[in-house]
């Protein structure tokens, strides 16, 4: 099969590491060739973070290039907008509607763009936006946004059965948080 590309974008500290770990586990267990790529170090200090997840028959490049992402999974609206050029024609954005002001906005040098969700849609992108923070809090912790997003993403992977996702959650999440994360996953999937 041709390589499929999932980009996970957000702000440092939002939980994208677990999301990519879970996807990596899930896709490896399905027998795909998989590459997951992220950048550590200075960019993690509250800056934009991007993780690439690629899978298929044979994956070469560890990175996703412009116009290649089949999915953009976004923890924050501005970060979804920032990565729009990476979305493949016909690609799908799954995003949290959360907005986190970056430093230029905090200091008043720039404004957080108005009606950003509408602007992203105007570009022609297919956007599935939901209040993941609220759903995560309903599940029991604001930190479970990553599982809400993955639950929503799972909705688009019709060829991967529910049990496979559940197995990945069991394998990647500490046992004491498993129930909370399962609940967050379900809330996202059925939102």
């Amino acid at each position: 099969m041709t390589t499929k590309n999932i980009m996970i974008v957000g702000v440092g500290g939002q939980g994208s590491v677990l999301a990519s770990k879970l996807l990596g586990h899930l896709l490896t267990a399905r027998g795909y060739d998989v590459k997951v790529s992220e950048v550590h170090g200075m960019s993690q200090r509250g800056g934009s973070v991007v993780t690439y997840v690629r899978y298929g028959g044979k994956v070469y490049s560890p990175v996703i290039d412009k116009g290649q992402a089949d999915f953009i999974v976004s923890f924050e609206l501005l970060e979804a907008a920032r990565c729009l050029s990476y979305l493949a024609p016909g690609g799908q954005i799954v995003t949290s509607t959360q907005q986190i002001d970056p430093m230029p906005v905090l200091t008043g040098v720039m404004d957080y763009p108005e009606n950003l969700l509408d602007e992203i849609r105007k570009s022609g992108a297919k956007v599935d936006a939901l209040d993941c923070l609220k759903l995560a809090e309903t599940a029991g912790s604001p930190k479970a946004v990553n599982l809400v997003l993955l639950g929503r993403l799972s909705h688009y992977f019709t060829d991967i059965p529910q049990e496979a996702w559940q197995e990945a959650i069991t394998a990647c999440v500490p046992a004491k948080f498993a129930d909370l994360n399962r609940k967050a996953f379900e809330l996202g999937r059925n939102a």
């Binding site: 992220e38 170090g41 490049s61 024609p89 957080y112 602007e119």
Partner: protein, 580 residues
């Protein structure tokens, strides 16, 4: 079963399987995780050294004593360790010795994007370059055999995309390497002129033999293509970009050993294809070598020497179509999201103090380099590890006034002490501020000689910074709490006015350390906040203006109280008493 493994983890696995039993490194992105992963193997002694030169010399000592050894570092770390590197090339090794250097094309977390391949040529040492996690494991394992067979350390060069990407890996078992007895050999190991003169020809002969190895080894391989009109020579992550962009279209010569290069193999390959295209990041290292062989080739004229390449760049430069992504309306401006100091970062209060003091701030390498970013904007120079202290001396001697150096605890141990010795010895004025957050922060919390813990988190020796500075001859050494703005301001003012050099230790542990207990978040009393934005000058990510009033993000705030000290109206109140 194959497992998904980060390149650095796979590198550690390769070292483990090869029977490595000694590792000494200094953390540096993107190399850090190799040694962190090694620390999980009980069979390997591992440590964080104060700097890369110490790490390399320690690894050499272990090799001399008969144990397979390792040291790892980022590209700029190899500059620090360049001194032993060039001469260990002459002495050779006893047991195998492997050096990892990890480059950072694109400067994701570095102050330059130097191309470390030049070191292999300059120091006359073999260098391997893996292109994914499996090769990282295999190459690190193989490096020991090469090291022992050719009696030299072997450098394995990683890059950000290999170090920090995960791909599938098949692991093997550890094979213990029997200790090689140490044998006294003054002619081989004492590099004074009379001996070194005799070792240089040995080095040249070794490189000739290594070139023969490069010609026949499967580490350099040709992959066939369907179109001989062009052929690609490449290595490392660029190989993956080439295959992604071109598939099996053109034949590829993939170099796993980047130095010495297989001249005959390169010539033969070039003879079978029309156009020779060299795909490599940063400098034209392979390209220059091919030109020296008299080959016509293209490389840097197509791809340039800046930053990272990618599949699209390669496709585009070779005339293939590339996909285009979607874009927002031009009227929508997307603000950048640069990294910033965390909420509760102990560096913030100190940098705010320096901003207000209006002094010149010479900086150093670490999280606190973010002190240069608005709104704090309180750093005017950053060069390399330790340069703040050394440059302070030169700046002062040249007549510069009202100047301080800021350097972290780990960076001070790495390269700041020698600069401080120069100030003490050659007597210049100026204030050295050691930002002691009790950890190596930027690379993800590694211990260092001032923390009292070793790489495994067990109790270790602890260097006392105050005693150290006093022992060097500094009479004025004082400790401040960076959460206390007045204390910081008084200290900076007094020490700048002093007639002799001084050291201020700004001490508070990194807010992200697990053992640090935080205060409850603050909140804003809307009846008191007048919207003056005075608190916004500290650049805290937990603070924003909402409806003309300051607002605290309770999920980020750790109650450090720095904003509270800025507010003349007492608008910040603790949430601690809520619910009582």
């Amino acid at each position: 079963m194959k497992q998904l493994m980060q390149g650095n983890t796979a590198a550690a696995r390769g070292l483990y399987e090869a029977g490595c039993s000694f590792a000494s490194s200094y953390p540096g992105t993107p190399s850090t995780e190799i040694t962190e992963e090694i620390a999980k193997y009980d069979e390997i002694y591992s440590e964080w050294a104060p700097n890369e030169k110490v790490a390399m010399e320690a690894a050499f000592g272990a090799s001399l004593a008969g144990k397979r050894s390792f040291c790892g570092m980022k590209h700029v770390g190899l500059n620090v360790a360049a001194d032993p590197l060039f001469t260990v090339s002459y002495t050779g090794v006893n047991a195998g010795m492997v050096i990892c250097v990890a480059d950072d094309a694109g400067m994701h977390s570095s102050q330059n994007e130097q191309d470390s391949r030049h070191y292999a040529r300059a120091a006359k040492l073999p260098m391997l370059e893996p292109s994914d996690s499996q090769e990282a494991l295999d190459f690190f394992r193989r490096a020991y055999d090469i090291s022992e067979e050719y009696d030299c350390p072997v450098i394995v060069k990683m890059c950000t995309r290999i170090a920090h990407s995960q791909s599938l890996v098949e692991t093997g078992e550890r094979k213990e390497a029997p200790a090689r007895p140490y044998v006294k050999d003054i002619a081989k190991y004492v590099m004074m002129p009379g001996n070194a003169i005799k070792r240089h020809p040995v080095v040249e002969e070794r490189m000739r033999r290594l070139q023969d190895f490069a010609e026949v080894s499967d580490i350099n391989r040709v992959e066939n293509g369907t179109d001989q009109s062009a052929g690609i020579i490449t290595s490392s992550t660029c190989y993956q970009y080439v295959k992604e962009a071109l598939g099996d279209k053109y034949p590829v010569l993939k170099l796993g050993m980047i130095w010495p290069m297989p001249d005959r193999k390169i010539r033969e390959f070039a003879g079978t294809v029309g156009r020779v295209v060299i795909v490599e990041e940063l400098d034209g290292f392979i390209e220059e070598h091919c030109r020296a062989l008299g080959l016509r080739c293209e490389g840097k004229s197509l791809f340039g020497c800046l930053g990272e390449l990618s599949q699209n760049v390669i496709a585009e430069k070779l005339g293939l179509a590339t996909p285009s992504g979607l874009k927002l309306d031009d009227s929508v401006k997307i603000p950048a999201r640069p990294p910033m100091m965390c909420a509760g970062c102990p560096h913030r209060g100190l940098f705010f103090t320096l901003n207000q003091a209006g002094c010149t701030v010479l900086g150093d390498i670490g999280c606190y380099t973010l002190g240069a970013v608005a709104p704090l904007s309180a750093m005017e120079m950053t060069l390399c590890m330790g340069a703040s202290v050394s440059a302070l001396h030169g700046f002062s001697k040249a007549g510069g006034k009202n100047v301080v150096a800021v350097i972290g605890d780990s960076t001070f141990m790495h390269s700041g002490m020698t600069g401080l010795a120069n100030i003490a010895y050659n007597q210049s004025k100026g204030v050295v501020i050691i930002l002691d957050n009790s950890i190596t922060g930027m690379t993800g919390h590694q211990q260092n000689p001032t923390t009292g813990l070793n790489i495994k988190g067990d109790p270790a020796g602890k260097i006392d910074l105050e005693s150290l500075c006093r022992a060097m001859g500094f009479e004025r050494v004082r400790v401040v709490d960076p959460y206390n703005l007045k204390e910081c301001a008084d200290a900076v003012k007094e020490e700048l006015a002093a007639d002799e050099p001084s050291v201020i230790i700004s001490r508070r542990p990194c807010a992200l350390l697990k053992y640090v207990k935080h205060n409850p978040p603050l909140k804003v009393d809307g009846t008191k906040c007048v919207g003056c934005k005075s608190c916004m000058k500290i650049g805290c990510p937990a603070l924003s203006m909402k409806g003309g009033k300051a607002h605290v993000d309770a999920t980020l705030c750790v109650g450090c109280g720095v904003c509270e000290q800025r507010c003349r109206f007492g608008a910040f109140v603790s949430t601690a008493k809520e619910g009582e």
